[in-house]
Structures are given as C-alpha cells and as structure tokens.
C-alpha cells in the first residue's frame, strides 16, 4: 500500500504494491509532525478524507443510538395515560435532546460521513480541497456533540424543544444551563458543517477527474453539492440566531425580552429560515444515495438524470422561500400566510419529479433485490407517504388544525426516517464492501430491513391518527378524558406506536449485529460486488490512501459501467467487454509516478478542542475563555505556518520499510 510520499526521497511508485509504514522522526521531540501512518495517531491526526468519513459515520452512529434511547423513553412515557416513566422536566429535556441529537448529531454528520468518504472517490480526486479543514470539521462535530451531551450531568439538558422558541428559552423560563450548552454546542457543530460545506463545494467544483463535466457527475455528488450550498448559506442564519440567544442568556441583551419591546417572532423567523433548508439538508443526501442504488440494482441508468439534478437544485432553491409555513398559526397575517402557503405547494413539484424518476428507473429494469435495493424502494414508499401528508399541511387552514399535533410528528418522521434514515441504511449496505472490503450479510440485512420497516410504520403510522384525533405534541402525558372511544381512540394507538418503537429498535439492533458478524468473518468481498456504475468502484476495496493509482479520464456518466459494457447503439444490446479487475489493472498499469498526499497535522484537533473549552468558559468560568482563546491563537498560528505536505525532517531516516511491524494495510483492514 502506498502511503504519503516522502518528498524527494525514495519516491514510491503507486501500484507497485510496496508497503511503506512511515514513522515520524524525533527531530522536534514531541512537537514533530505526526506523520505516523500506524496506530491511534494515524486516526487522531489524520487528514485523510476516508478515515475522517469513517469516523464521522462511527460517531454519528453512536449518537443515533443515544437519540434512539431518548426516543424509546419518550414512547415508554406515552404508552399509557398519565405516564410516569419520566418527570415533566426530564420529558421536556428528552424530546429536546432527541430532536437535537437526531438532526445535528446523527443525520447531518452521517451524511457528512458519506460525502467525505465518497465524493472524492466519485469525482476521481485523491482527497478534498482542504484536508486539514476537513479534519478540523470532524473534531468540531465530535467535541460539539460531546459538549452538548455533557449538559445531562452538568445541571440538566436543554428543555425548550429543538426549535427553542423564545421567550420560553430565556433564562427566566429555563434557568438551568441546558440551553446555554445547546446554543454553544450547536455553534461548534455549526462550524463543522460550514467548514465541511466550503470544503466539499470547492472539492466538487475544482477537483473532478479530467472529462467529468458537471452533468457527468454521479448523482450522489450532485445532491451533496446542493446540500453543501444549502449549508453554506443556512448555517450563518442559525449562527446569528444562536448568538442572539447566547447574548441574551449570558450577557443580558434584550433581543427576546418582551418587556423591553422585543418581538418573539424574530427568533422563529431566524430559526426557520435556517430550519427549512435544514430539512432538505437532511433528506437530499439520502435522495442521492438511492439515486445511486436504484440504477445499479435495476441495471439501467437513472431515469431523467438531468431532471433529477434539476429538481434537486430546485428543491434546494425553493427551500429558501417556504420557512414561514412552520408559523402558520403564529399570527403572520393572511397575506404572508397565503404567500408562504403557495410557495410551499410549489416545492411539492420537484419532489414529485424525484419520485416519478425513481419509479421510472425501476420500470423495465432487471431488479435485483439486495438489502440496499430494498431500503431504497422502502424510501420511495415511505417518503411518498410523508410527502403527501406534507401537502396536506401546505394548505394553511388545514395546517392550523394539524400543526403541533402528532400528525406533524408522523409527517416528518416519514420524511426524516422514511427518507433520510432508510437512505442511509441503503448506503450502508451498498458501500460497505467498498469501505471495509467485506459485504454485510444479506440474510441479516433482509431481517434488518423488514423489522425496521414494520417497526417504523407501527411507530409513526398511528401518529397520523393520534394527531388528527387532536393529541398535541410535546406533552408529557395524555389523559383518558380526551382519548375518545372506539377504533380510533388515542389509548390504543399510543400503545401501538410505543410497541412499534421497540420493534424499530430491534431493527436497528439487527444492523449492529450484522456489522459485528461481518467484521468477524474473513471472507473478502469481490472487487465489484454489485456490478456498479460509478467511479468509486474503480479502485481497490478499501481504497488506497491516494484513492486512484492513476486518475481516470471520464467520458460519460456511469463511467465505470461503460468501461465494463459496450452498448450497441442500434439494438441497444449490452456486451460485457471487461471485468472490474481488468478495468482496475488498466488504471494500475498507468499509475502516476509521483503522488503527493497531504500530511497529518496536530492543529485541527487542537483548534477544535479549544472551542468547547471556551464554551465551558462562557458557562462556568471566564478563565477558561482565556485558556481556550489562547489555544485558538496558538493552533491557528501553527496551522498557518505548517505546510500541507510534511518536510523530510519530519520523517525517520529511510530504513528498511519492511522492518515496520504490522504496517498500515493491516491497520486499515481491521479497524472497522
């Protein structure tokens, strides 16, 4: 395996199979550059987009479980009338943190993980444009998430709902530090999103393989591009809102102090101007994933690629003009309500285009029902339900009956779980052999799929009924007096929903079991297990650190597929002309002689670590602000002066590379 090239010394020819484990020299003592490519250092100081992608995924998965436990506690509380599992305060903290965790610490970073790992591979690049910034983003996410969750043991978590409406989130009404943790934690994870977005946009625009025009980019990359644009422009809006919140709570500013004449709707507008694009930030990556998976397992190209790209961009753009539909009941006045009602309906059109195109991709195909494919089809079905219930509350008068009831909870869980999460699972099954070199068990996978689907429909389906029967959200309990009788009584359906939640948890558990089982088995996946179509499959699995021995020249959409198959333009018949191994051998034969890879660095993690220190400082002690601030200055200064590729002096003098114990190949292969 080829690792970072030692500049000017013993250049390693890519593809030669020579494995060089590099160790840092002792030149600067403990402050030497961490160029080590083995052991924990190779992960903590890495700037490799693939390692960062895996770490994003692993941490996001952990937070998924945290958020899931929170959800189970909520459903346990609501399983019967007058639930006593949680106290009122704890219940409020639970639903606040459930939403916050799932949105900011699971779906967004999981999508970031997929994007990090796959985008450079899909566009034929060797890394992202700003590798150290990429590492910095990951550590911001991790430390921000940990910071946010330490509030549980430092006086209580945030209890104002993830939407944190003012003035209920003021210090007067929420005196614990929970909301301070929430605001600062999201500010830190916001930095992760913003730097990640800047990085990925520049990467996608600038680092495509020769010949890869924008309209030849894989659809996943396209959707990620749209999402990153949404992030780049939406994050600053929440940043403003969070600063106002922090200045209010920590420094006594009056932004949401009604007594001083403030208008509480200011917060709502800022929050939803961010919050609505955020919805598309959550689902579009999964739309990208299934748009990759469906063609592969239908054995035909994505139907209407241009339309799917265009509708993705249109959803992203229109998403900026609909935020006030979260506020139809807040008293905007009929003109604003009418305008936002219409713009919201508009957004149903490009969304409908996507569903139509996916269905038509399947049409006439040769469908192979792998687990990845099943999750993808599951997404189409469940998301359609969520989309249609969405249309029912684009109709503003109807929405004033439904908003803040369980009907909305049902709607957005069909969108977020049925859309984003099913897509993420589809992506796991599809790309697992690429990332870890082993295929997840299809047998457990199918169980995983069916239990998850049944669980999700049992959990969220009844919420439609519960909501239309008038049960509001965010209530710590419900009572028999308002439950009604007969088939649609709230009691029965609340029980169904709670049971469904535990089935859903089993579904997720099956996935974890699958991961463990797969990790233990020795069998390697074939190079091209799915007969895939895009560039990320044109390298070894898992890919080498430099991704491609030689950067492929792209001639068409689905480049990999067209290298394997030749199409008779008259009859449309396909002939297999090459195997994946042959395509790969061809690339290796033309391997680039010299490849510079960016070197690891201390400074991203140090800089990211300084931020939560400052956060604790703002909440508990001003001294810590100074400590964190100095650490910020130090690490930025060091970062600035550090060249992106390490000097020779950072390395040990050249010796026998084979003397290294273990070596990086083993390390990468087993570290799942």
């Amino acid at each position: 395996m080829t690792i970072i090239e030692r500049p000017s010394l013993t250049p390693v020819v890519a593809g030669s199979g020579v494995s060089v484990g590099v160790k840092p020299s002792q030149a600067y003592g403990s402050l030497r550059r961490p160029v080590s490519s083995t052991g924990w250092r190779s992960w903590v100081f890495t700037v490799d987009h693939k390692k960062l992608g895996i770490m994003y995924g692993a941490v996001a998965m952990f937070f998924f479980l945290v958020g899931g436990v929170e959800a189970l506690l909520i459903r346990a509380q609501l399983a019967g009338p007058n639930g006593t599992v949680l106290s009122a305060g704890l219940y409020n903290e639970m639903f606040t943190m459930h939403a916050t965790t799932m949105v900011f610490l699971f779906v967004m970073p999981m999508a970031a993980g997929f994007a990090n790992y796959l985008v450079p591979l899909q566009i034929g690049a060797r890394d992202v444009a700003f590798p150290r910034m990429n590492a910095f983003g990951f550590w911001c996410f991790l430390f921000g998430g940990i910071f946010l969750n330490t509030s549980w043991v430092l006086g209580g978590a945030a209890d104002g709902g993830w939407f944190m409406y003012q003035p209920n989130a003021n210090a007067l009404f929420s005196p614990s530090h929970g909301i301070d943790f929430w605001g600062l934690g999201l500010q830190i994870t916001g930095i992760a999103s913003l730097t990640g977005a800047l990085n990925l946009i520049v990467t996608i625009l600038n680092m495509r393989a020769p010949g890869m025009k924008l309209m030849k980019m894989p659809i996943f990359t396209w959707m990620i591009l749209v999402v990153q644009f949404l992030l780049v422009f939406a994050i600053p809006v929440i940043t403003v809102a969070l600063f106002l919140l922090m200045f209010q709570r920590a420094f006594g500013a009056t932004f949401f102090d009604v007594g001083a004449g403030a208008d509480p709707l200011l917060w709502q507008h800022l929050f939803w101007i961010f919050g609505h694009p955020e919805v598309y930030i959550l689902v579009l990556p999964s739309f990208g994933i299934v748009s990759e998976v469906l063609p592969v397992f239908s054995r035909k190209p994505l139907f209407g690629y241009r339309f799917v790209v265009f509708s993705g961009a249109a959803i992203g753009f229109t998403g900026w003009g609909v935020w006030a539909h979260h506020m139809f009941a807040s008293g905007l006045g009929p003109v604003s309500v009418a305008v936002f009602s219409m713009s919201t309906m508009l957004i149903a059109i490009p969304t409908g285009v996507k569903i139509v195109n996916w269905t038509l991709t399947l049409w006439g195909g040769k469908l192979w029902f792998t687990t990845a494919m099943m999750f993808a089809i599951g997404l189409i079905v469940e998301f359609t339900i969520g989309g249609l219930s969405g249309v029912t509350h684009a109709v503003a008068p109807s929405d004033t009956q439904q908003t803040d009831t369980y009907y909305i909870v049902a709607h957005f869980h069909y969108v977020i779980f049925g859309g984003a999460v099913l897509g993420i699972f589809s992506g796991f099954y599809y790309w697992w052999p690429k990332i870890f070199g082993k295929r997840l068990s299809e047998k457990i996978g199918k169980w995983n799929f069916w239990v998850t689907i049944i669980g999700m429909n049992l959990t969220f389906g009844p919420m439609h009924i519960i909501g239309l029967q008038g049960q509001p959200r965010r209530m710590m309990n419900w009572t028999e007096a308002r439950a009604g009788e007969g088939f649609f009584n709230l009691g029965f359906w609340n029980r169904v929903s709670s049971s469904g939640a535990f089935i859903l948890a089993c579904g997720v558990g099956l996935f974890l079991i699958n991961v463990i089982v797969t990790t233990r088995k020795a069998e390697k996946a074939p190079l091209d297990p799915w007969d895939a179509r895009s560039l990320e499959w044109m390298t070894s699995s898992p890919p080498k650190e430099h991704n491609f021995d030689s950067i492929p020249v792209v001639h068409s959409l689905d480049e990999f597929f067209h290298r394997k198959y030749e199409e008779n333009h008259e009859t449309g018949e396909l002939t297999k002309v090459a195997t994946a191994e042959e395509v790969l051998a061809d690339l290796e034969a033309h391997a680039d002689a010299h490849i510079h890879m960016p070197s690891p660095s201390y400074w991203p993690i140090v800089l990211a670590l300084a931020l939560p220190i400052m956060g604790y400082g703002i909440i508990f002690s001003r001294i810590l602000i100074v400590v964190g601030g100095l650490l910020v200055l130090l690490s930025m200064f060091a970062w600035t002066l550090e060249p992106s590729v390490a000097d020779d002096t950072d390395y040990d003098p050249p010796g026998d590379p084979r003397a290294d114990d273990g070596g990086p190949t083993k390390e990468l292969a087993t570290h799942v």
Binding site: K213, F310, G321
Partner: protein, 112 residues
C-alpha cells in the same frame, strides 16, 4: 441551474489558470477610491439637506453604487471568473431576498 453552470464551466476553462488576468494601473484604483470618497461625501451631505421624498431612494442608490464599485473593481469581480460571481451573488441574492421577505412579514415596510 444546469444551463448556468455549464456556461460557467466553459468560462472557467477559457481562463489560463491565472486568477489575475487583467492588470490595472494603480491610478485606476486611486480614481475609484476618489469616486467612493466623493459619493460618501454626497451621502453625508444629503442627510443635512432636506430633499423630501427623494432622500431615501437616493441614499440607497448611492449605497448600492458604492457597494458594487468595491465589489467589481477593488475585489476584481468584474474581471474575474464567473464562478466567483456565481458564488458571491448567490449568497448576496439569497440574503437580500430572504431578509427583505423576513422584514416584510413584520410589516416593516408599511410602518416606515
């Protein structure tokens, strides 16, 4: 968007890889700065002279002119790749559109 980006891409490929394609003599920038100073002077003067209903539109026009003089010339956006314009103006346009709509929901433009 697809049409735009394709167009942008061609524009990008046309450039020779150098970012500062066109050079202006320093005197050019001095002239721009002088104009900016004059416009600022005009703006300040306006606030001391009562010109009635024209005041606000005139002031805002001057502001916009100044804004774009810096963007187009000092920041070189006029002579640079269309990609930069695309990225910056998308942000600017979204900000202007979204925040004007935001203020409109508060009936901001009706009261003043």
């Amino acid at each position: 968007m697809s049409a735009t980006t394709e167009h942008l891409e061609r524009a990008g490929h046309d450039s020779d890889g150098h970012d500062y394609v066109e050079h202006h003599p320093d005197s050019f920038y001095v002239k721009i700065a002088l104009a900016l100073a004059l416009l600022t002077g005009l703006e300040v003067t306006l606030t001391y002279v009562d010109i009635g209903a024209l005041f606000l539109p005139l002031l805002l026009t001057l502001m916009v002119i100044k804004f774009f003089m810096v963007v187009l010339f000092f920041m070189h956006l006029k002579f640079d790749s269309k990609w930069f314009s695309f990225l910056f103006y998308t942000g600017l346009g979204l900000a202007v559109g979204v925040y004007l709509a935001f203020l409109a929901t508060f009936r901001f433009f009706m009261s003043s």
